[in-house]
């Protein structure tokens, strides 16, 4: 896949250059402490972005993930805190609920040919609305599991720690890579993103794959919700607003083609790290305000989309030249 490696290499290059620049400016930047914190702070984003990667590679989009995260947090807070349900029961329950939610959206997209963006937009409304209906309060979760989670963190060389949620994220990324490149489902996702009609004619079970893709995305949003609830130890219906945009940005900056068919889970991971890098830079700088994050992400997003267009035009020309 020589052609599609270019965006990924650029992503990695941007990340390395950014890290280098930050390290030169701030002496304490290049440390395991910063690394551990970045991974922890962006763990939920990393988890949900893996699911989004599959959706976008298949040629779709999922705008509902932020709301699903919020719903998960609210659900967990109510179940664990108010109704004293064991987390070990609440976790599988919410994962099943969110995966089912995604399956429903996938079914609507496939069987009724409603564009993914509007289906998941409605899904975003619905999930956020359900949050508000459950509660409008922010409920802190004080279950022992939540309080003692930090005990399980692994010490990194230096002062850094690898938290449990960072480990979950890394595990999801690893599993995501295996699914993308080592399973028939993964191949089918790339095939659908390449050309849905061809994929269907070549025997890809399009209906099942579509449903599974959105199931995976929503299910991972559920897992990201669990991670987010660990991170904040609370459930709030206002949580994770705008996360769908950060997620899409991470995927695109990670080199995945927004028109589908090309992309890497590992690229998405680097995309998440780049966003973390920007936030960390702003924190270190101290004088810059947080809104610069949005602008920087917007600029990167534009840069990568323009790059994708440029590469597409170049490769179209290249093919013609080869043919001639």
């Amino acid at each position: 896949m020589r052609g599609s490696l270019v965006p990924l290499l650029i992503t990695v290059g941007v990340f390395l250059a950014g890290t280098l620049a930050c390290s030169l400016e701030f002496p304490h930047f290049a440390s395991t402490l910063v690394l551990g914190d970045t991974l922890t702070d962006n763990a939920f984003l990393g988890v949900v972005a893996v699911g989004m990667t599959f959706v976008i590679i298949s040629g779709g989009i999922d705008l509902s993930v932020g709301s699903v995260i919020a719903f998960t947090c609210v659900f967990l807070a109510l179940a664990i805190q108010r109704h004293h349900v064991s987390p070990w029961l609440a976790f599988p329950a919410i994962l099943a609920i969110t995966a089912g939610y995604g399956a429903g959206m996938g079914a609507l997209i496939h069987y009724f040919r409603i564009p993914p963006f509007i289906t998941t937009l409605a899904g975003m409304f619905l999930a956020r609305g359900l949050c508000f209906v459950l509660t409008t309060d922010s409920i802190p979760i004080s279950h022992p599991l939540y309080q003692h989670l930090y005990l399980y963190a692994i010490d990194l060389p230096g002062r850094g720690k690898l938290s449990v949620i960072a480990m979950i994220m890394l595990a999801v990324v690893a599993v995501g890579m295996v699914i993308a490149h080592r399973t028939r489902f993964g191949a089918n996702v790339y095939a659908m993103g390449g050309n849905r009609v061809s994929a269907e004619m070549m025997g890809v079970p399009v209906a099942r794959t579509t449903i599974m893709i959105y199931m995976l995305s929503s299910g991972l949003a559920g897992l990201a919700g669990i991670v987010f609830s660990f991170y904040t130890s609370a459930g709030s219906s206002l949580a994770a607003t705008g996360v769908e945009l950060d997620t899409i940005a991470a995927v695109v900056i990670g080199g995945t083609l927004l028109s589908g068919g090309q992309g890497y889970v590992i690229g998405t991971f680097v995309g998440v790290l780049i966003q973390g890098l920007i936030q960390t830079y702003i924190t270190f700088d101290g004088t810059l305000s947080s809104w610069w994050t949005k602008i920087a992400v917007g600029i990167l997003l534009f840069g990568f989309i323009a790059l994708q267009r440029g590469l597409a035009i170049l490769s179209a020309r290249g093919t013609r030249a080869v043919a001639a």
Partner: protein
């Protein structure tokens, strides 16, 4: 077929009958849960009442849906309108506090919206980036830009002229309603008084055939996005004037979705082609009337989002089933 049912069929075939029926049903429902719904009072030379409230609060979405209709009719989508509202509100608030005359403030805010629209239009029409993706960029970065302008704070102001744009009344009618009505008239004049409307519909329905007939899709698309940006800027000014401040984080939040919903309810296909401005306005008012109805019925306002989700899916499922027939 009996004469009555034939007449009924003919009636339902009139464009807009479904929307008008839906509007009537929602208004009727509101009246049932709140018998005083249609009461209108005059207080201090200004009309008050639930119906007026629906129109007044619906003004921003009506404004957004005007531009959104044109964009969707070209086969596109504009996700950035909420962020553009935040930008224009931020521009207006900061400038008015700097002592700029109101006229210039409004012009600058509109100019900001115009530039945003132009940016989207160039990405879509010249760089040929898919509309969802192209406008996503501004949707992400726009709120950052707005915060940059307001330096991250909620900028409040007390200029009575600017506040009047959101809360004042003229001839007893709230100003936002007048602005929305005026923009509706202007938009109608723009697209139906010129050939732009025809070109938009032609490009949205069949871009290639239109190009072969000499219609420039580029100009048409850029115009639609520019107008959408402009409408969003107007809505942003009203929203800021209403709360007497610019809140870069929350101004126009999720309103892009309401606007898309209004256009869809108004019967314009997401695939582009034929559009109707009056029906998009009707769609926006239906949505606002539902919001108000939920409030009046004593249900939590949070149900709004659920109802909207259900309504938009119902409309799209209906369209999908009809397309298959």
């Amino acid at each position: 077929m009996s004469a009555t049912s034939a007449r009924l069929t003919r009636l339902t075939n009139i464009p807009g009958s479904a929307q008008l029926a839906a509007l009537a049903a929602v208004l009727l429902g509101n009246w049932l849960v709140f018998p005083g719904f249609f009461n209108i009072r005059m207080v201090d030379g200004r009309l008050f009442g639930s119906v007026i409230d629906v129109l007044n609060r619906g003004a921003p979405v009506v404004l957004l849906s005007l531009g959104m209709t044109l964009v969707i009719a070209t086969g596109g989508i504009d996700l950035s309108v909420g962020a553009v509202m935040a930008i224009s509100g931020a521009v207006a608030a900061t400038l008015i506090n700097a002592g700029t005359p109101l006229v210039l403030v409004v012009a600058a805010a509109l100019g900001a919206g115009l530039l945003c629209g132009l940016w989207n239009g160039i990405l879509v029409a010249l760089l040929r980036i898919q509309p969802i993706v192209a406008t996503l960029i501004l949707m992400v970065a726009g709120r950052g830009i707005a915060q940059l302008i307001t330096a991250g704070e909620i900028v409040t102001f007390d200029d009575r002229g600017l506040i009047a744009l959101g809360t004042g009344a003229l001839l007893a009618i709230p100003v936002p309603i007048l602005i929305a009505a005026g923009t509706f008239a202007l938009t109608t004049l723009l697209v139906r008084g010129t050939a732009l409307g025809l070109f938009i519909e032609a490009v949205g329905a069949n871009e290639r055939a239109s190009a072969y007939a000499g219609v420039s899709a580029r100009v048409v698309k850029i115009a639609a996005y520019v107008w959408s940006g402009l409408c969003a800027a107007i809505a942003g000014i009203i929203a800021a004037a209403d709360i007497q401040g610019a809140d870069a984080n929350n101004a126009g939040l999720w309103l892009e979705l309401d606007a898309i919903l209004a256009v869809v309810v108004g019967g314009t296909s997401l695939l582009g082609g034929r559009f109707s401005l009056p029906l998009a306005v009707a769609g926006a008012i239906i949505i606002q009337a539902m919001n108000t109805g939920i409030l009046l019925s004593g249900l939590k306002p949070e149900f709004n989002l659920i109802v909207k989700a259900v309504v938009v899916m119902a409309v799209l499922l209906l369209q999908s089933v009809r397309r298959r027939d």
